[in-house]
């Protein structure tokens, strides 16, 4: 903030011109002397010509319904480090019944600004003399692209205070609003001029604090404003940033683990034949227990992966090995089912399962082991089922990587969905919604 300018503002005593309303005799003031073109009488609502020495009556508005502004005309407040006085208030609306409120703010050193209020949402507007680049339905302004949000006509329903142009109830204009939250740019065309104004969303509490407004006349925000910044946008961005770093770390650890893991085959058993059941199809065959030769597991406290494969076809095999420590006689069960089904139904081929299956058991102590294996087969087992077993010590567990990444993704995806839902709700009142299916 410019300190010198601020001190000067505190010291200013704007020249106020007082006069009597030629319609009702009430005493009226003009704050922006020399700039104000029209004044509306507080008492009789007559619109007066401020440029006329006799304050000619431009319009009698005695029947105009009174609207109470949230910021009363004459209230001063500090926004952006500058003091502003509300000198004019208008209620405008469209043919659909929407009504919004516009407050004209004035500072003798900084000119005019507008505060726009709709459904309790506020936007700070300043007239733009840089014309935006019109391309298609959207516009570009100072390097940013703004999307068309509304287009239509508006009418003035109520006026109060003073204005730098002739304004009265019933005035009509064509408007277009373009948004790039938290910014908006508006185009307005009346019978004698075209103007562009650039606005920025302001939190309602900021207005309330700036003008020291009381709760009872201050509108509560309803719904989502066209240019209201999405709280989820930044949060989703942050979440994906953290996800990225965590994913890089986890993938790095996985690659390191894959490169340094022993992945040593400690046992292999090929082509073990299981005969089909003598009881016919779809019956389970309980085979004998098979004991393998012994093998050694060296590394302390490592995991052990069992890889099983079988030539099952529309059938299953249940391989139930017990990994037995030769010295202690203690066993670790490692059951695994290999099943594969396929067919043709509903005009489509389908398949389920596969010929290979693996499982990992963790924390296997070093020692000499053998396998004690029982098998069962079922399904369409009209011919022999062969299976192979392989034991590999110290393998990286890929499922850990997948599960970790899925766990990490839950929050960013949730935030992304919230962000999307916010945008859909924002655009639900627009005829130009990018989310519309039409």
């Amino acid at each position: 903030m410019n300190t010198r300018s601020s001190r000067r503002e505190k010291q200013i005593r704007p020249v106020v011109k007082s006069f009597n309303c030629p319609s009702c005799g009430a005493t009226l003031n003009i704050t922006a002397v020399g700039r104000t073109i029209s004044v509306v009488c507080k008492s009789c609502r007559a619109t007066l010509d401020a440029t006329d020495p006799n304050f000619a009556i431009l319009e009698h508005n005695a029947k105009m319904r009174t609207v109470k502004p949230a910021i009363p005309v004459g209230t001063r407040g500090t926004l952006g480090g500058k003091m502003w006085e509300c000198i004019g208030f208008m209620q405008r609306g469209d043919s659909y019944g929407y009504r919004w409120h516009e407050y004209l703010l004035y500072n003798p050193y900084h000119g005019y600004r507008w505060l726009f209020e709709f459904d309790g949402h506020w936007t700070w507007f300043k007239r733009s003399y840089d014309l935006p680049d019109l391309s298609g339905t959207d516009v570009k302004y100072k390097g940013m692209s703004y999307k068309l949000f509304t287009k239509g006509s508006s009418e003035v329903f109520y006026v109060e205070g003073e204005f730098y142009w002739r304004v009265k109830a019933g005035d009509k204009s064509n408007v277009k609003d373009f948004v790039a939250p938290p910014y908006t740019i508006s185009y307005e065309k009346s019978h004698d001029e075209e103007i562009w104004t650039h606005g920025q969303y302001l939190e309602p509490d900021r207005i309330k604090t700036a003008f020291k407004l009381k709760d009872n006349f201050f509108p509560e925000p309803v719904g989502i404003a066209p240019n209201q910044p999405s709280p989820h946008k930044q949060q989703a961005k942050e979440a994906f940033k953290y996800f990225f770093f965590a994913a890089v770390f986890i993938i790095g650890v996985h690659l390191f683990r894959s490169a340094t893991a022993l992945q040593k085959e400690v046992f292999r058993m090929n082509e073990v034949r299981v005969f089909p059941t003598r009881y016919g199809e779809r019956k389970t065959l309980d085979d004998k227990v098979l004991r393998t030769e012994t093998f050694e597991i060296l590394k302390k406290k490592s995991n052990l992966q069992m890889q099983a494969s079988a030539n099952v076809n529309n059938s299953w095999i249940w391989i139930d090995p017990l990994l037995v420590n030769e010295e202690t006689g203690k066993g670790i069960p490692m059951p695994v089912e290999v099943s594969y089904y396929y067919g043709y139904s509903g005009g489509e081929r389908w398949s389920e399962g596969g010929h290979n299956k693996s499982r990992v058991i963790q924390n296997v102590p070093p020692g000499r082991y053998y396998l004690s294996i029982k098998t069962q087969v079922g399904g369409n087992v009209s011919r022999d089922v062969n299976y192979q077993l392989r034991l590999v010590q110290d393998v990286p567990v890929f499922s850990n990587l997948v599960i970790s990444l899925i766990l990490l993704l839950i929050y960013p995806i949730f935030k992304l969905m919230r962000r999307q839902s916010f945008e859909v709700q924002r655009w639900s009142t627009s005829d130009y919604s990018p989310y519309s299916e039409d």
Partner: protein, 43 residues
């Protein structure tokens, strides 16, 4: 908040990766092998 979830998941993943453990494989149930039969003596 999410930052700490990321740190937690990374820490858990690193522990699992370096010890050869996995999320869903508990420590194996110990049973006794006896003459090819499986006695269900859980430790």
């Amino acid at each position: 908040m999410y930052k700490y979830i990321c740190i937690g998941v990374c820490a858990v993943y690193t522990y699992l990766a370096l010890t050869g453990r996995s999320y869903f494989s508990p420590s194996p149930t110990r049973t006794w092998a006896q003459k090819g039969q499986r006695a269900i003596f859980h430790k």
